[in-house]
Symmetry: C2
Subunit: 409 residues, 2 copies
């Protein structure tokens, strides 16, 4: 064996991030390997949420827009996220969902170069990205969506390319693009790149400014621990902000939302990408989730992610021969989850959940485990793989109840 | 005087909705006349929110999508709202913001009749509606936004009219359109009507089916008491649902969200108007807000609204001669708020807030008071107007601190 339980515990004892686990409330008897789908509950969130509901809403009521900083929440939380992704504070704002933000940026950015007809994305990209892209492409004159296999994308970038829409870390196997090199390649061809950071933000080190990124969106409820359906964020590089006009011209993106004028004048800077009234309770939960990163560097988080992954991969290689790892061995080319292929991935996933190991199934045949260094330890990985090996060895996943599908599977 | 304090108290004692006040947590010393901007906190919401955060998210984690009905929340809460607005349960869904929902329905509906070039709306409509409409019109080929004065709108409907976008109850003075007659007038000309119910849902009796309404959106955080920035709803009449395709094709509106296919296939029925992952914590708060209407008819609420309005108007007429009421005297032509014009409306509003009477200012010269029968009584109205009369009589609003503007004013 790579290691035994005692060694796993020793690794936890040496782990500089070990104390971060106390920043989260994790249920007893559960090993949670799905923080890439829904981040765990930060310990500070229940009280923060209670305050938002009872004090800010219940007691201060409408006055909280000014008195409790509700009106600045999209910018304030955006600035905190900016610090995690290598952006300037005024380049990130929290708003809407990833889907809606993708739509805003695709339409706004593609409209800048109408002579370029191709919106280029990856086959097998997270499907909401492709669906939103197809809807946006139908609305922008002369724009069409083209989908290429991952290996063919860079070669496909050309004079016709308007916008390259890529997910930085792939949701399934976890392949990661080299942001700097792909962005530069697109830029050299005169195209812009829009990055979906849903599986990257709070997971891998990001340097949006350094890597020349101009446009990005990301998710609040995965590694940022903002709660189910948390609002998303979007990033627009400073130099591009004044050139873009959101197709979703809601009042909160207006230069003077409370002047109530019929004419639309976009707000200066990143605020123009707001649409409707920001969801304050959800925003409070997201802020609390992002605050769980306080004082921790993304480099420290990433170093532990790599160690957790390597342990997970080697334990599975030794004890679960039926599982084929499909995530990259090279840490520089992956995100913070590990995925395996098995014809009965669905049933294995259900059997694991029944024994307290929560990962998730991704159709048609992938079982996926999120590695969240803030609240996951080496003993967790050791125990999870031991349970999985036992489930496979004994064939416990063949129990017919594990073949029953829920609505979300 | 119309009435005295004793009579106001007697009216409260006779009020069949009096007990509903206990369904809300209202701060001491405050008369809250801004429930049309942000509904008050329902008494059940803190515990419901605590459960959503600590139990559903914290303990059940990702399993709650199935185990706690998260995935059905948009439909479930939508069906509850449907009961308040005269729609069938499967015609309403909760999603995104009013702004985003307007965009979806304008683009989807206008695209059905591309030979009709005019998107028609009202000058001075709530500005987010006009801004969203202008953005949508730019994206739909051949469509242009035309804005007409309220009195001229019906006459302006013609063979060129594609879609009529109207706010049912106007946010400022509270004028209400006759939904049945305007919808019929548009339909006779071959045009569709999209109603913004932000100041109507939970405030006035609505009969969307009976009145022939085909498309509507509405707000969750006003009379529905869903909390600051609560998700919004949208309504599409059954017969129209399969004809419309949302321009915001997020995964939750896909026929098979968990099949992860590249091709977009809209979900059958109202679910196709979902975009990204629904905001579950905000959805729980909205559901609790809508549940505060349990067992109460909109007719009972409206009858009390009329009585509160009439008392407010007559007390102001007697004791505040400097204020000009701009809301309709005819109850059938108004909503559930009352507005007054005064050159120093801003300062008067601030002075009132300083003395515990919360209404709001609407630029440039309107002070507006929301009448929310579930938690507002006749004594509240009596006291609020008495304080306002005294502020006007003494000129206390001239204190320079009341001229200081916040970000939200």
């Amino acid at each position: 064996m790579t290691i035994d339980l005692a060694r796993a515990r020793a690794l936890d004892a040496e782990d500089p991030l070990r104390a971060c686990r106390d920043r989260f409330l994790l249920p007893d008897g559960i090993i949670y390997l799905d923080g890439n789908s829904l981040g765990a509950l930060p310990a500070a969130t229940p009280e923060r949420q209670r305050r938002a509901v009872e004090q800010e809403w219940g007691t201060s009521l409408i006055r909280s827009w000014n008195d409790h900083g509700w009106i600045e929440a999209p910018q304030r939380v955006g600035a905190k996220i900016a610090a995690l992704i290598g952006a300037q504070p005024h380049e990130v704002i929290v708003a809407d969902s990833v889907s809606v933000n993708l739509f805003k940026l695709i339409v706004a950015a593609a409209s800048l170069t109408p002579e370029r007809p191709t919106l280029l994305s990856e086959a097998g990209n997270f499907h909401t990205d492709l669906h939103i892209a197809s809807g946006a492409a139908e609305l922008v004159p002369n724009l069409g969506l083209e989908i290429a296999e991952r290996e063919a994308i860079e070669a496909r970038i050309g004079a016709d390319t308007n916008l390259l829409l890529l997910t930085h870390v792939h949701f399934k196997a976890g392949f990661r693009f080299d942001m700097a090199s792909v962005t530069a390649r697109a830029k050299a061809a005169g195209a812009r790149t829009l990055w979906d950071l849903s599986h990257s933000a709070g997971a891998v080190p990001l340097h949006l400014n350094r890597d020349g990124a101009e446009l990005a969106v990301g998710c609040g409820y995965k590694y940022l621990n903002g709660g189910p359906g948390a609002p998303a964020f979007l990033y627009v590089a400073e130099h591009l902000q004044e050139q873009l006009v959101s197709p979703l011209r809601g009042w909160m993106g207006h230069a003077a939302p409370f002047a109530f004028t019929d004419d639309y004048v976009p707000a200066p800077g990143i605020a123009r990408f707001l649409a409707g009234t920001p969801p304050i309770l959800a925003m409070a939960a997201l802020e609390s989730g992002v605050d769980a990163f306080d004082g921790i560097t993304m480099d420290a988080i990433w170093a532990k992610s790599v160690a957790l992954f390597d342990l997970f991969a080697s334990l599975v290689a030794e004890t679960c021969p039926a599982l084929a790892c499909i995530s990259p061995a090279d840490a520089e080319r992956r995100g913070s989850h590990i995925s395996f292929r098995h014809p009965h991935a669905f049933e294995i996933c259900q059997a694991l959940i029944a024994e307290g190991v929560i990962g998730d199934f991704r159709a048609p045949d992938v079982v996926r485990f999120g590695l969240t260094p803030l609240y996951l330890g080496f003993e967790d990985v050791f125990r999870a793989v031991a349970i999985m090996a036992d489930i496979l060895d004994t064939g416990r996943w063949r129990d017919p109840r594990f073949a029953v599908r829920g609505k979300v599977t």
